[in-house]
Symmetry: C2
Subunit: 136 residues, 2 copies
DNA sequence: CATTATAATAGAATTATTCCAAGATGAGAA
DNA sequence: TTCTCATCTTGGAATAATTCTATTATAATG
C-alpha cells in the first residue's frame, strides 16, 4: 500500500480515497476486470463513487503506462494492471480471460510492405478457447 | 455476383435485395468496415435500410463462418468478409486496419497449464503502429 | 399461385462510455 | 498549519453502439 502511494506521489497524479481504493483493487489483480467490476468493488467502500471516476482513473493510469486496455472481448473493455507485454486467452463461453506470458516477439515479424508503411509500436496475441468449466 | 448467390442459395439464408447489397459491398472488401460503414453504403441504394438489418446480416454471416468480427479497435467493431485465418495491424492515429497474411501458427504455441485448461479454438495477432500518412 | 418461414423495418430499449458543470479536496507553497 | 489552486469527484445528461420487439413484407418452396 505504501508502495502504491510512493509510486504515484509527486507525479501529478492526485491520490484521492477513491483512487486509492481503485489502485488497491487493481494491485496484482489478474482477473482483467471491466469498468463495472471495478465500480462494483469500489462502491462497497465508497457508495457514492461514480462511473466517471472509474473511467477517469483507468484513463489516467493508461496514459501513464500503468495499465492496459484489453480488446479481446467484443462486448466490453477489460483492464489489466500489468502493463508488461503479455498475451491473453478468452473463454468463448464464460468470457474469462487469462494471461499468457510466453514471449512470441522473435516470431512475430512483419512483411516488408507493412514495415514500410507502419512504424510498429507493439503487438498482442488473442487466443480463443473454451475453459474446462464451460466444457461440462 | 452469381457466385455470391449460389453460395447462399438453399442454405437457409434468405437472399433479400438488402442482403445482396451487403454481400456485394463486402465481397473482396479489405477495408474492415464498421456497421456504420456498411449501413451508409447500403443506404445509398436502399434508403430505408435499418441498422438492425445490417447487424442481423453480419451476425447471420458470422454464424456461418463467412465473416469475422475484428476487436482490434477499442472504439467499435469492424467486420471482415475474409474468414481465413489472418492478422491485422491498426494505425493508432487514423484507425485504419490492414491485413497481415503471415502464418504464425507454428510459433504461437501455448504453455501446458493453458492447454490443460482450455480447448484452443484459434488465435489472432493485433499489431499496433502509426501509418505513413499519420506520421506527417 | 399459396403457404410459410424468415427478413426488414421503425423505433424503443439497453449498454457502454463520455461529457459537463458544480462543488470538493489533495498537494504543495507559504 | 493554513491557504490556494489545480485537479478530482459527482450526478446526471449526452452520445454512441448495439440489441430487442412488434409489425409488416417478402423470398423460397412446392
Ligand atoms: Mn493480463
Ligand atoms: Mn482482414
Ligand atoms: Zn469458460
Ligand atoms: Zn494512420
Amino acid at each position: 500500500m505504501e508502495k502504491i502511494i510512493s509510486r504515484y506521489k509527486g507525479k501529478g497524479f492526485k491520490l484521492t480515497p477513491q483512487r486509492l481504493a481503485i489502485l488497491k483493487f487493481l494491485e496484482g489483480n489478474t482477473n482483467h476486470p471491466t469498468a463495472e467490476d471495478i465500480f462494483r468493488e469500489i462502491k462497497k467502500k465508497y457508495p457514492t463513487v461514480s462511473f466517471a471516476t472509474v473511467y477517469n482513473t483507468v484513463e489516467a493510469l493508461r496514459e501513464r503506462g500503468e495499465l492496459l486496455e484489453i480488446t479481446i472481448n467484443p462486448d466490453r473493455k477489460h483492464f489489466d494492471p500489468n502493463p508488461n507485454p503479455h498475451h491473453h486467452i478468452i473463454c468463448k463461453v464464460c468470457k474469462k480471460i487469462e494471461d499468457i506470458f510466453t514471449d512470441y516477439s522473435e516470431a512475430l515479424k512483419l512483411p516488408k510492405d507493412i514495415t514500410d508503411e507502419f512504424e510498429i509500436l507493439g503487438n498482442h496475441v488473442d487466443f480463443y478457447g473454451i475453459c474446462k468449466n464451460c466444457r461440462n
